[in-house]
């Protein structure tokens, strides 16, 4: 195999792993924001324990 294969594969793997990290961060954040908004829209807040 030529050296180009090893260089290209290294850059592709790195790009994929970093893209995965970024995508995971964005999706996870959106899920939590949506779930939190949903809970709050149903009137469930910290104050509901007292009331």
């Amino acid at each position: 195999m030529s050296h180009t294969f090893f260089i290209a594969f290294s850059y592709i793997v790195t790009a994929l792993v970093i893209a995965g990290l970024i995508l995971r961060a964005v999706i996870d954040h959106r899920i939590q924001v949506r779930t939190l908004a949903d809970l709050e829209s149903r009137g469930i807040g910290r104050r509901s324990r007292r009331g």
């Binding site: 050296h3 090893f6 260089i7 793997v13 970093i18 990290l21 939190l36």
Partner: protein, 246 residues
């Protein structure tokens, strides 16, 4: 300053302002770094163009250790000072550290084949780095295994601090043992042995990777704070439904 940041609301506000700047700067430096690597840095006189793998492999290796040190300091924060954000920081750092360790191992292996004639050798540096990945995976598994966040944080903190023994082993393995992996060539008492035409792009890539890691860490911490709020509210909702049923 640290006391102020320990307040999750304050942290959310500050990190929300910082995150786009850190992320933007990271993206800019990655672009500059890649330009220098591909259009300015020379080929190595022995390795030829294969040296381009170094610009990914070395920063990934540094960040693997960097994120482990963040986790170890956060573990101390959890166990000793019970810092409110310490376990949030630990949890957010683990997948990032694991990802950079994986990049380091894969790119190292792909660099090793054309240079050493083998993808893998059980030498001290490679083996200790593999152990580092296994520790990261163990920590990630432990976070998932224990549902209650405070209990999970304490258990993970102990595992993290035990695993920290591996950090100096990774760093000094090339000095303590006779390894196929070369010794340090940047952080040396007598100065770097790399020519500035390669050192400058390498350092720019290292700073870019670090900023990218910091941005991901901040984003991960923010999401973890939200996840804990969701958990608290879900418990409150269950309690309210229980009270209504009774």
């Amino acid at each position: 300053m640290i006391r102020e940041l320990a307040n999750p609301t304050r942290f959310m506000s500050l990190s929300g302002t910082l995150l786009p700047w850190v992320g933007g700067l990271a993206a800019l430096l990655v672009a500059v770094g890649l330009y220098l690597v591909w259009f300015a840095a020379p080929a190595d006189y022995q390795q030829g163009e294969t040296v381009k793998i170094m610009y990914l492999h070395v920063p990934a290796a540094w960040l693997s250790l960097f994120f482990y040190m963040i986790m170890a300091s956060s573990a101390l924060g959890t166990l000793v000072w019970r810092h409110p954000l310490a376990d949030v920081s630990q949890k957010a750092a683990a997948p990032i550290g694991a990802a950079f360790t994986l990049i380091c191992l894969v790119t190292g292996s792909l660099w090793g084949k054309p240079m050493w004639g083998t993808y893998w050798q059980w030498d001290a540096r490679l083996t200790s780095m593999l152990v580092m990945l296994l520790i990261y995976l163990g920590i990630l598994a432990l976070w998932r295994a224990i549902e209650e966040p405070n209990r999970a944080a304490r258990a993970v903190s102990i595992l993290t601090l035990v695993g920290a023994v591996n950090v100096p082993i990774v760093k000094f393995s090339v000095d303590w043992w006779n390894t196929l992996h070369q010794p340090a060539s940047v952080f040396r008492i007598d100065g770097p042995t790399i020519h500035p035409s390669m050192l400058v792009p390498l350092l720019i890539m290292a700073v870019a990777f670090t900023l990218m890691g910091v941005a991901l860490h901040l984003a991960g911490m923010r999401t973890e704070i939200l996840r804990r709020r969701v958990r608290t509210l879900t418990i409150l909702e269950a309690e309210r439904l229980d009270a209504q049923a009774a």
